[in-house]
Amino acid sequence: MTRTVLTVDDSRTMRDMLRMALAGAGFNVVEAVDGEHGLEVLSAHRPDVIITDINMPKLDGFGFIEAVRVDDDYRAIPILVLTTESDPAKKQRAREAGATGWIVKPFNPEKLVDAIRRVAA
């Protein structure tokens, strides 16, 4: 069964990169441009995995993760955050918000698919 990945990032470049890597690995990809939009897309597509950026307008990654985790319908969905290696504090905050794992930017497709495999049944 094709698994669906929701990518939430305000950068079109990042979304395209993720789409390329994920589609290439056989995932179905749905996209959102910020946290608020992510919550909408979430209910429409019920993704198996969520990949989200942290810095976004409207609702940032932390807020988005928290919102997913308090929703009984979605709280079991694994969430990977996109981080940069230089910011352990942000990673920690994302984990506290309920992030399942993380992907360090810049990523390569192998790393990305690897991270998904580690969190997705």
Partner: protein, 763 residues
């Protein structure tokens, strides 16, 4: 890697937008209007540029963006105060960031010294106590940025490959799972015991023990043992808590780091113990359980740990229920897990699959498809006009069903055309947003103080026009600062604010887009302009000119007012080139100036280069189209209103003023002898500079929308003719350039044209 290239194109497009956002935000901050959201947006812009650049391995860009981002992060956090002075520094930094982006794109170079100096300045702002680093490590001369040879997307990890498997070397052929297990006993160095005791946080973050076991099994064969001794009775069970402890016997050639890596995501969310060797399951579990807080004050179900064998790739039954039971036992949900954020309120609604841009939904379409659509609609308009003409020729009554249906068709065609043109229309913002930087740079270079005020950025105009607005605007702005504004000292002496104001505005006026560039400088020095024109032999010294005519001298080819060609306005482009390029677009440029108060350049262009509303007229047997926008009124002159002027010219008395009469046929060379104006029709037209003229034609055929076909592309530029079109009956007609026609006649003083290749519309 075509797809990657395509994403790179997207990245640079996005960079443009981000840089514009960045500049907009910084300008707001400079005006003291930057609230926290502005700072956040500014930070995000730089952050996104850095992120994308990192993905493409654009090292110098990443480095500079990183320093920039670090400072912005500090501003965001409040540790660096958000001041107007800071905004000015950030603005200059954004210019350098833009240079880095251009360089990464292969367009231009970065002044590495300036970049390094700026990076040092930014670092200084970030941490004033830091010892000012010697102008940064990068001190190379100007170099074009090169993408790192290996983009981050390529290249897999190879270090996981390990060729030297001891077991395989010795017993290669007849190995079975049992045999291997037996062998393992003999090689204890390959055996690890991993004890895992997940905490409830592990599950709260949607991690999953079964997956951890699966990951472990990728390192080598595993045997997992489950200890459920801490599991309370169901009635006492907290569904959100974790009670199971796992002990895993793992055979692998990997080292401890590789095993620990499996648990990277759950670090801190489970008690983990990794020991080399067989290890007693009981002991390791005891080791784990002992220091932990009392898990539950409940009697363990099974006092003795009964090892349960679990096939690794299959989800262990014990772990799954925890997750599944959870939703059902709602009431028991720990409050901690629910910081009842507004999140849940974000009522999930079905949304379109298309990814909307922030705030609005956007479809990206290849521009070629739109161009094709516009072409087709153009043909449709022509075809519809032909149909209408044919129907007219058959003498069908206007009240008949056919004629009425045709009217409706015409309406629809027009609506389709408007809608299609609207697709390609874009706000001039994309051009305007590049200008603040230009103004800063030019002001710096010339030692002037200039503030740019922009107006009407959202005025929409066809994409084809937008693309060609940039050059004239750039030049007019340069000119305004370089020649228009005085130096701060001169301004002070004149009692003005030392900071000059340059205004750039866009507006729609009678079916055209008007761009105004005005300054509050010294205005045109007419004496000097006149003197230069005489000196350069452009005009006769005794020529009597009005102020307006003198102002317009600067558009003459070969005219340049700067005594020394400055770095800024020089560049070999004079206002005459600007004027010509504008005219080539069917546009006009004019100037008005008041000494001591400044000058205004007005540029007017058609909204689209695709269609035109025109009056179809007959001149000497030729059909011409006169742009409706230029026509004030049409009239049949009475004999007493026509007055001769000079040997051949004549003027028309219109109400209280006299307007020169111009015979279009004569001006374009269709005929040698003008008929008397009273025999024809007169179109009173107004040129861009406000001057009026009365064009004489033989007859008016009516008003029509025509599709513009470029004469330059299909033939060559012809003075007095703006473009061509195809009429309803299939004939080609020329579209008159009203201003050029007036000028032609002015220059020749109404004298008959010398014979020149006359242009006859071809069938």
């Amino acid at each position: 890697m075509d797809e990657l290239e395509a994403i790179k194109v997207t990245f640079f497009q996005e960079c443009e937008e981000l840089l514009a956002d960045l500049e907009g935000g910084l300008l707001a901050m400079e005006e003291g209007a930057g609230d926290l959201e502005t700072v956040n947006a500014v930070f995000r812009a730089v952050h996104s540029i850095k992120g994308g650049a990192g993905a493409f391995g654009l090292e110098p860009l990443v480095r500079f963006a990183h320093v920039f981002e670090t400072l912005l992060d500090a501003v965001r956090a409040g540790s660096v105060p958000n001041t107007v002075e800071l905004a000015a520094v950030l603005l200059r930094a954004s210019d350098i960031l833009a240079d880095h982006v251009s360089a990464a794109r292969g367009l231009g170079d970065v002044d590495m010294a300036a970049s390094a100096a700026m990076a040092a300045e930014l670092e200084q702002w970030t941490d004033p106590n830091a010892t000012p680093t010697a102008p940064a490590p990068v001190a190379a001369p100007t170099v074009a940025e090169e993408p790192a040879p290996a983009p981050a997307l390529i290249g897999a990890d190879d270090d996981a490959m390990d060729g030297d498997d001891l077991g395989f070397v010795f017993v290669p052929q007849t190995i079975t799972v049992e045999a291997q297990a037996a062998d393992a006993e003999l090689i204890p160095s390959n055996v690890w015991t991993v004890s895992i005791r997940p905490k409830s946080d592990l599950y709260r973050k949607a991690n999953e023990t079964a997956l951890l076991l699966r990951e472990l099994s990728r390192l080598g064969p595993i045997k997992a043992t489950l200890d459920d001794s801490a599991l309370p009775l169901l009635q006492n069970l907290d569904p959100e808590a974790a009670f199971i402890t796992w002990s895993v016997r793992l055979e692998t050639d990997q080292d401890e780091t590789a095993i620990r890596e499996v648990f990277e995501f759950v670090d801190g969310d489970c008690d983990l113990e990794i020991t080399r060797g067989e290890g007693s399951v009981e002991a390791s579990i005891a080791a784990l359980t002992a220091p932990a807080e009392p898990v539950a004050a409940v009697e363990p179900i099974a006092p003795a740990p009964e090892p349960v064998e679990v096939a690794p790739p299959i989800a262990p039954p014990a772990a799954a229920p925890v997750a599944e039971v959870a939703p059902a036992v709602e009431a028991a949900k720990p409050a901690a897990a629910a910081p009842a954020a507004a999140a849940a309120a974000a009522a999930p609604k079905a949304t379109p699959v298309e990814v909307p841009g922030p705030g609005q939904s956007v479809i990206r379409v290849d521009p070629e498809r739109i161009d094709r659509l516009i072409d087709l609609v153009g043909e449709l308009v022509i075809n519809q006009a032909m149909l209408a003409q044919r129907v007219g020729e058959y003498g069908i009554a206007p009240s008949s069903n056919l004629a009425m249906g045709l009217d409706e068709l015409e309406q629809l065609t027009r609506e389709i055309q408007d809608s299609v043109m609207a697709i390609r229309a874009q706000p001039v913002k994309s051009v305007f947003q590049r200008m603040p930087r230009l103004v800063r740079e030019v002001a710096n270079m010339t030692g002037k103080q200039a503030r740019l005020v922009m107006d009407g950025e959202n005025t929409e105009v066809d994409k084809t026009v937008i693309e060609r607005l940039s050059d004239p605007i750039t030049h007019m702005l340069r000119n305004a600062i370089d020649h228009g504004l005085e130096s701060p000292e001169e301004r002070k002496a004149a009692g003005k604010n030392p900071e000059g104001v340059v205004r750039l505005a866009a507006l729609h006026r009678s079916g055209r887009i008007v761009i105004e560039v005005s300054d509050d400088g010294k205005g045109i020095n007419r004496e000097r302009v006149f003197g230069i024109a005489v000196k350069k032999g452009l005009i006769a010294p005794d020529l009597q000119l009005t102020d307006e005519e003198i102002d317009n001298l600067i558009f003459l080819p070969g005219f340049s007012t700067a005594e020394k060609i400055s770095d800024v306005s020089g560049r070999g482009v004079g206002m005459d080139v600007v004027k010509r390029s504008v005219q080539a677009l069917g546009g006009r440029i004019s100037i008005s100036s008041r000494p001591g108060q400044g000058s205004t350049f007005t540029l007017s262009l058609p909204l689209t280069l695709a269609v035109l509303d025109g009056m179809v007229v007959d001149v000497a047997g030729e059909t011409l189209v006169v742009p409706l926008a230029a026509i004030v009124e049409s009239l049949r002159p009475k004999p007493e209103e026509v007055r001769p002027l000079g040997p051949v010219g004549s003027v028309l008395a219109v109400r209280d003023s006299f307007v020169p009469l111009i015979d279009v046929g004569l001006t374009l060379g269709y005929r040698e002898e003008s008929p008397h104006p009273t025999d024809g029709v007169v179109l009173l037209v107004e040129g861009e500079d406000g001057s009026r003229a009365a064009l004489v034609a033989d007859a008016i055929h009516g008003q029509r929308q025509v599709v513009i076909k470029s004469l330059e592309q299909n033939y060559q530029q012809v003075e007095g003719v703006a473009a061509a079109t195809i009429l309803g009956d299939g004939r080609v007609a020329l579209i008159l350039d009203v201003d050029a026609t007036i000028n032609l006649r002015r220059r020749e003083g109404g004298a008959p044209r010398p014979p020149e290749p006359s242009l006859i519309a071809a069938e």
